[in-house]
Symmetry: C2
Subunit: 227 residues, 2 copies
């Protein structure tokens, strides 16, 4: 097993990354192949697919070795569930599975060919082991029953970005930020209305506060490096 590519994504750290792929559909990422796998012909025909699977490596900070049971954030962080009944990183092998939309193939870039994708729940620099086409006839099961993850997914927050902040953010970053914050990126069951959270996102340091079901963005300042 060796990485074949890395993703460039707006999240330098884990904070803010959606809990699953597709929850923040405006988030875009760029998948760049490692030199040994930069073969334009390996992507021939991939544009026929609207969605791709990414198999990727859980990085160390989010992983503490494997544990037979884990406490999913969606269950409040108290209830223990078997690790194979979750998508937790604390599984025997450090492989994540995410479905992304394929927006474009960039064949002209000097580090190309690259894949432009949206909806990824990966931090910047995550190593990718495999990219497979999404085949709806074998992969799509809308009737599947989804356990606790399904029951808890409906909850989203309202997001308020004041006009003076909104004006300074590129439109696509603003849209992605709204989706990210709507998912409530706070650690499980934090509910402290006074608390100010901060995280780096797409080259900005975002500060926000949550009151009830509303997120208020307090500031968005450019950081030195582009996310």
């Amino acid at each position: 097993m060796r990485p074949i590519a890395r993703i460039s994504a707006p999240f330098p750290d884990k904070f803010g990354v959606p809990r699953q792929s597709g929850l923040a559909p405006s988030l875009t990422g760029r998948i760049v192949f490692l030199p040994a796998f930069r073969a334009p012909e390996a992507l021939r025909g991939i544009e026929e697919y609207s969605h791709l699977w990414l198999l990727w490596r859980f990085s160390l900070p989010e992983r503490e070795g494997w544990s037979p049971t884990v406490r999913p954030p969606r269950l409040g962080g108290n209830e223990r569930v078997g690790v194979f009944a979750t998508r937790s990183p604390n599984r025997p092998n450090p492989i994540g599975l995410s479905c992304v939309r394929l927006l474009a193939v960039d064949r002209e870039a000097p580090d190309g060919p690259a894949l432009i994708v949206s909806g990824a729940d990966l931090t910047d620099g995550t190593e990718i082991f495999d990219i497979k086409p999404y085949l709806p006839y074998t992969d799509s099961h809308p009737e599947a029953s989804g356990g606790f993850a399904e029951r808890e997914r409906g909850r989203v927050l309202a997001v308020r970005i004041p006009e003076e902040i909104r004006r300074r953010l590129p439109e696509e970053i603003c849209r992605a930020l709204e989706e990210v914050l709507a998912q409530d990126p706070r650690p499980a069951y934090h509910d402290d209305p006074g608390r100010v959270y901060g995280f780096p996102f797409a080259g900005y340091e975002i500060r926000f506060r949550v009151q009830g079901d509303e997120v208020l963005v307090l500031s968005a300042e450019r950081t030195g490096e582009e996310g």
Copy 2:
């Protein structure tokens, strides 16, 4: 990366294995964990899910190292497509991805706990790296466009199993065999009406012939070992 489990399935060899998971829904398999991972609590809550993902190892006979382009059987074996636009085993890392139905958890077996699943496209003994719940809100995309694999999938054969053969096969094996043969297990673009094919399946040696769009089963003899 180390295997956590193995599947017991009706196919000792690759011949007959459906091209993707779910195409032969009556095929059942039993997933047995390796001793280091036999932790009943690791499966706590898994029954809430109707479907599971299996991440598994492509075995050597079906894999010839990685190749930037491959010739998918569904395109007749002549046209070359980028490997990342296919689910071919000839990719950089030997990981397959399959969605199966979870039928039951067997917690009482001496080698248990085991998972009884259906629809797997794995040969007997395949090593499994990971088992994840299928989450429809993030994994199901019925609107995804499916490329050539989607266009070619509709074709199935009619299957005729003569009454005297049918009478000697257990009903569930007969049903699974019909589904397997309907998928046309012949190598890509074989079309030789005289030719008799044989393959081992669930402890039987199956012989069949194809004429036009019909498969005729010629015999099903018990072999020494159970599949």
